[in-house]
Symmetry: C2
Subunit: 392 residues, 2 copies
């Protein structure tokens, strides 16, 4: 992980998690940052999401405090007050304006935050801040995740080298339109507010909004990008020659985090890219890709290493998109499996693809030129174990 | 199971299933019947569905032949020819018009039918026909089902007593808009063609279209109703006083079969009714009920007997329906769990509901007066086992 000038990280155990694992993280910039964010589209939003949506409006932020173990969702007015109190207490300790702090929570829904533990832990949280500590922050935001998720990229902006680093979490409740996922991207590259917002939206669309684990969307999903401008480059705007480069780099780190989330998908043993080509519209292509990516029968076939193309063709047929099924072609890692309404060649030619930990399922509709894709995981015994026993 | 005058059933082993279990069934009426049918909405339709849709047009039928073990889906032109050949061979043996025979298949997708075995078995299939043999037919249509599904009801039509009996199959690939399910309803009650069609549509809407196991829709789903009129009652039409009674009775036997399908849902240990009340429109209510009924996180919570209302409220919030989440109320078997954005009372008051094999989750939106519901199963380790290993 590359450190990013001016950004400091920490992650400690406050006691919110009974296990004693890290559960409180902090990202702090030595100067106020430009910030942009994308939040869950779920109507039921956690308290920190509601507060975050308000605080994000002025486009400036200096610190994000993250707790895991408790989502502070469905906690009513008290939950909202708790989010405000957390950020107020932190702002006092950091001696910055309260409005420059954004809280973020992930974990169990419906229980009150243990405010005493969080507030008591703040001095240690701040004391632990270090440019090198991003992995501590990564640990502090985990719930059912099995490993931490970080990504980093350096790009040349003029004659200077800027850094974009990201830390995220997520394993279940993963669906396009975000998921039980949090992602925090920090950069020293200076960029105008409008350009930062647009760049981030594009990056999210092509990373976090392309993954599925179980099709559930959480109350807490949030992704943030903070730019502190300490690279002192000429500020990027939408017309700059460096704008595209910036978008690509942010998309790249977000995609890396997104793919790690699928890989860590609760109980997942496979990462499968489902691409749909030759659709009439991108929306048609996305609908089919998502239907396959969400299909329990496709996902159990991935798990069982059973190259059962019938389930995939069947899922495509029920996606609610009009196409001629006789023109549909199906490929596993580029090997043609199905065309003209029947199996194209013997299963021995393609069965091995499903034995790989990572493979691609491609559908060609031959109805138009639009395409889309989704990255999904398999549905396993362990997924059921994790989610049937989550709270016990 | 009540026998129905004039209807004969059989079910034998033809050798299509390697296990040697029953895999070929026949339903035969001694006189031609009025028939109505509903087929899968999947764009990818099995050969017998395509042929059935053609044959159904004239509204008359005398025999339905059902094979299990092979869906004859995604089998192209050869598959269609095989369906035609099967019905032709049977019609010869039965000495009836070929167009009075409808074939129906369920099982693995993409493999050619073993025509030699089926044709060779026809004489025995016909020889076994008996008014009492409906359970043999029920056995012959099973795939991953653990038990047979039959239901029956007698109703008074004037001074006569008519019978409605049903036999069905289904366990996986179950979603509203039918599923990998077949259902055959037979009655001796005379009813006009239009009235039969309308009655059946209403009954399906309130039975098979209200169940979910895994949200997948198959290429083969079909439901048929045959009336041979041998009760010799005054023919029912839509204006008859007996029309409503007929619809209710058909709905009842279909609901019984539908609920048995959920109970037999692959690996299912729970049958859960999800009802949504106080919605602006029935469509809104249905959308929320289906989103919860399809939610992997809700379904694993049902399995884990974990009364995790946060997952249910979360699923409601992502259903794509606009409502005020602060007005939402949630009940488990009538016990209030959640209201005004927070947990309503201690978990000890309602946790026991999830320990029952059958319970109801009710959401009240307080946005309007429309309502809908869905019956769903839980998502279990066994579901994954069954579907990861189906073909091996």
């Amino acid at each position: 992980m590359s450190k990013v000038p001016g950004f400091y990280f920490s992650g400690i155990s406050s006691g919110v998690k009974k296990s004693g694992k890290k559960d409180l993280g902090l990202i702090y910039s030595e100067v106020p940052c430009k910030i942009s964010a994308v939040f869950t589209k779920n109507l039921v939003k956690a308290a920190p999401v509601i507060l975050g949506q308000e605080r994000i409006k002025n486009g400036t932020c200096q610190a994000i405090i993250i707790n895991s173990g408790n989502a502070n969702a469905c906690t009513g007015k008290k939950g909202y007050k708790d989010s405000v109190s957390t950020s107020k207490a932190l702002s006092k300790e950091l001696k910055i304006d309260e409005n420059l702090v954004i809280p973020s929570s992930t974990g169990i829904i419906g229980l009150p935050l243990k405010m005493d533990k969080i507030e008591k832990a703040l001095p240690e949280l701040i004391k632990s801040l270090d440019e090198e500590n991003i992995e501590d922050t990564a640990h502090a935001m985990l719930t059912t995740d099995k490993f931490i998720k970080t990504a980093s990229k350096k790009i040349k902006i003029g004659n200077k080298t800027g850094t974009i680093s990201a830390v995220g979490k997520g394993a279940g409740m993963i669906s396009p339109n975000m998921a039980t996922m949090l992602a925090f991207i920090v950069t020293d590259i200076a960029i105008a507010k409008g350009a930062l917002k647009k760049a981030f939206k594009t990056s999210i669309e092509n990373s976090f909004n392309k993954i599925i684990v179980d099709g559930d969307t959480s109350t807490n999903d949030s992704a943030f990008i903070m730019s502190n401008g300490l690279l002192e480059n000429r500020e990027i705007n939408e017309k700059s020659s460096n704008y595209k480069k910036f978008v690509e780099a942010v998309t790249e780190v977000c995609s890396e985090i997104a793919e790690l989330i699928v890989k860590d998908g609760e109980g997942a043993t496979k990462v499968v890219k489902v691409e749909v080509k030759g659709a009439k519209t991108e929306n048609d292509a996305a609908k089919i890709a998502r239907t396959i990516g969400n299909s329990q029968l496709s996902k159990t076939a991935f798990y069982g290493e059973d190259a059962n193309w019938g389930r995939i063709v069947g899922a495509a047929g029920r996606a609610g998109v009009k196409f001629n099924p006789d023109k549909l072609e199906l490929f596993f890692d580029g090997i043609k499996v199905y065309s003209k309404g029947v199996q194209h060649q013997s299963e021995s030619k393609y069965a091995h693809v499903f034995e790989k930990p990572k493979f691609t399922v491609t559908i060609k509709l031959k109805e138009g030129k639009a395409e889309s894709y989704i990255i999904t995981s398999d549905l396993t015994h362990e997924y059921v174990s994790i989610n049937a026993d989550y709270r016990s």
